[in-house]
Symmetry: C2
Subunit: 367 residues, 2 copies
DNA sequence: CTGTTAGCGCATTCAC
DNA sequence: GTGAATGCGCTAACAG
């Protein structure tokens, strides 16, 4: 583990040219296995770590992946980031954090995003819940600069995205309540401009309809995904004539479910005996609130991990295309038509059963 | 905002050499103000963003700051990171994320850290709660590579660190309970090998002693900072003969306070009327648990922000030293004695009063 | 299979 | 004040 050590150093030690060393380091096929072995040994001995800055500059291709996160950020972005870090762990890539200042105007935020591209620091971008920033993010996604959104509020047709199965999660949540004998199940929706809010509502409707129950407009309210809106919505539900009151509430997310819990406590409504409550997200605090919240778990960790994996795949695909076409200009992916997979990956959610719905503790998976 | 734009491009447009452009970009004094103005205008027009990768390579000095975060990571690291992102926002620096895989052995983790240095990607490192990794982090901290720990479990003499005023926070928390009339105040300590746990205990003792009360060994238990240990500790306190039972519990952190809340609920002990509870940290969930938790708020955001600021200061100091000594080798800070400020910055904490202690809602600041 | 030759985009000596 | 030359550490074209 010498102070510093360049490719030239180990080339000298191995008695070969640095080109050859570079080749084995980059897993090129065309190197004699004897030489390769010797080089690898010396690399090991010296504890040589290539300078990815230089590699990026020379190769015209950075080894950094940008992570964009808006700062109105929720607890679970940590899980997402942990997943991303894990995926990047045994690669040559590293993660660069781009946090957007809340107080800035949307236009300023757009500027920040523009710079991400123009600075050419990163090879691609993972946007965690870009929300209002989506339009800017879209602009970045060109051939040569892959972008992927994670859990976006809106589906951008041209950009690949990863999300949880919101509809399916809502479906199993409501199914669970139905199996517990509830027939008057209310729902507090998230804002209509959130895709996930609409999907969850669809799952709710589907489960009811399959059970032969009508969706009662009076039992469906809309919140803003914040705790207080859940609180307010619950109050309105509690003020309904007693024969119209729900026996269960499926909240669009955990935060609003917390609001329901508070409202119930205020009104002296016992949970789960008088009212069952189910949320969506499984924030880490949902195991801590009292009563502990039954909720739909989103696979945040996996979403982050997969996001990186797919991005890396796209990056290496680009490389392949570039190489196979060579004969034209070296580094111009820009002029070729996009091979970009604009796919949508949807990950399964699962129901985490805790005290707030009155069932025994267990985990229910979708079938 | 052209597709790409290098320093040469704008040099051409301005009719000067790229050297001159480079000079104004780096705020060198020796450039004619007319030329400088013209260059700046063109830079603006073209939306030119320098390639920090190349700048790093050429200058021998990276513009990236590493952020090391262990993955047993708590909710509040988000706040810390947000603070760091904010501080970096209007500088040329960016943040690179290094997350350590939990499942790896301590030695493997050490290897990861070694690579952080040898890869020379970053100019310095901010270690968030390194804990067991501290020894490795220490090794990184040489002149030329500033390291700063944030909220470390242990004080490493040679490394500058930022932490909250744990002793002071505990002190005001207990003072608050005393002012509410409590005289039998229990404390659930964190693990003794955590510096912050010991400091909080000291604050507890100091407040009691100043009030003329003895620290009763029977009222001081030790947990592990996890919820369940708080639960167990509370149970033991509740099983004391009634005349020995505490009327208030100061938990070493919020998680353990949650455990106390659960244990109280289990035993039918009303909070705050029969028992006051105070935590430490102010996790975002502490406003959500029922009853809402009175707790000591740590300035996580500020800790992150300041961490970056100080690191940047150190970086620019190095630069100055390097420049002023030039005449010797250009980039060898290594052989010079360390100017490294090994200071310790301690930030004030504040008490957030909520329902669990029985006082009216307010915020108490240390005097 | 391997070595040689050129840069990547910029900062930093030196000259003028 | 300004420009020309050199190189950071590495990859990628080109020849053998």
């Amino acid at each position: 583990m010498k102070e510093k050590c360049t490719i030239d150093d180990i080339a000298r030690l191995a008695g070969v040219s640095k080109t050859t060393v570079s080749r084995v380091l980059n897993h090129k096929p065309d190197v004699g296995s004897a030489t390769r072995k010797r080089i690898l040994r010396i690399v090991e001995e010296q504890g040589f770590v290539p300078n990815i800055t230089a590699a990026g500059l020379a190769g015209g291709r950075s080894h950094l992946i940008g992570v964009l996160l808006p700062s109105f950020t929720s607890l679970y972005v940590l899980d997402i980031m942990r997943g991303m870090a894990e995926a990047v762990d045994d690669t040559l890539y590293e993660l660069v954090l781009y946090s957007i200042n809340d107080r800035a105007s949307t236009k300023d935020k757009g500027d920040v995003i523009e710079r991400i591209l123009t600075s050419k620091l990163t090879a691609g971008l993972l946007a965690i819940m870009p929300g209002q920033l989506s339009s800017y993010v879209t602009r970045l996604h060109k051939p040569g600069f892959p972008v992927m959104t994670i859990d976006d509020q809106e589906a951008i047709p041209s950009v690949p995205r990863i999300s949880a199965d919101n509809r399916g999660g809502a479906y199993i949540a409501v199914r669970h309540l139905l199996s517990l004998g509830h027939s008057r199940i209310a729902h507090i929706k998230g804002p209509a401009h959130y895709l996930c809010a609409r999907e969850r509502y669809q799952g709710y409707c589907q489960a009811l309809e399959e059970a032969g129950l009508a969706v009662e407009p009076g039992l469906v309210l809309e919140g803003d995904f914040q705790e207080n809106s859940g609180f307010q919505a619950a109050r309105r539900l509690f003020s309904l004539p007693s024969e119209q009151q729900p026996t269960a509430i499926f909240a669009g997310n955990d935060l609003m479910a917390y609001g329901v819990l508070s409202a119930a406590a205020e009104q002296g409504i016992a949970i789960p005996s008088e009212l069952a409550v189910v949320g969506f997200d499984d924030l880490s605090s949902s195991a801590l609130v009292r009563p502990a919240l039954t909720t739909v778990r989103q696979p945040f960790h996996e979403m982050g991990r997969l996001g990186v994996k797919r991005l890396l795949t796209q990056l290496s695909t680009q490389l392949y295309i570039e190489t196979s076409h060579n004969g034209m200009h070296g580094r111009k992916f820009y002029e070729r038509e996009a091979p970009a997979a604009t796919e949508h990956i949807q990950l399964a959610t699962s129901l985490v059963v805790r005290a707030s719905c009155g069932a025994s503790h267990q985990q229910v998976n979708p079938t």
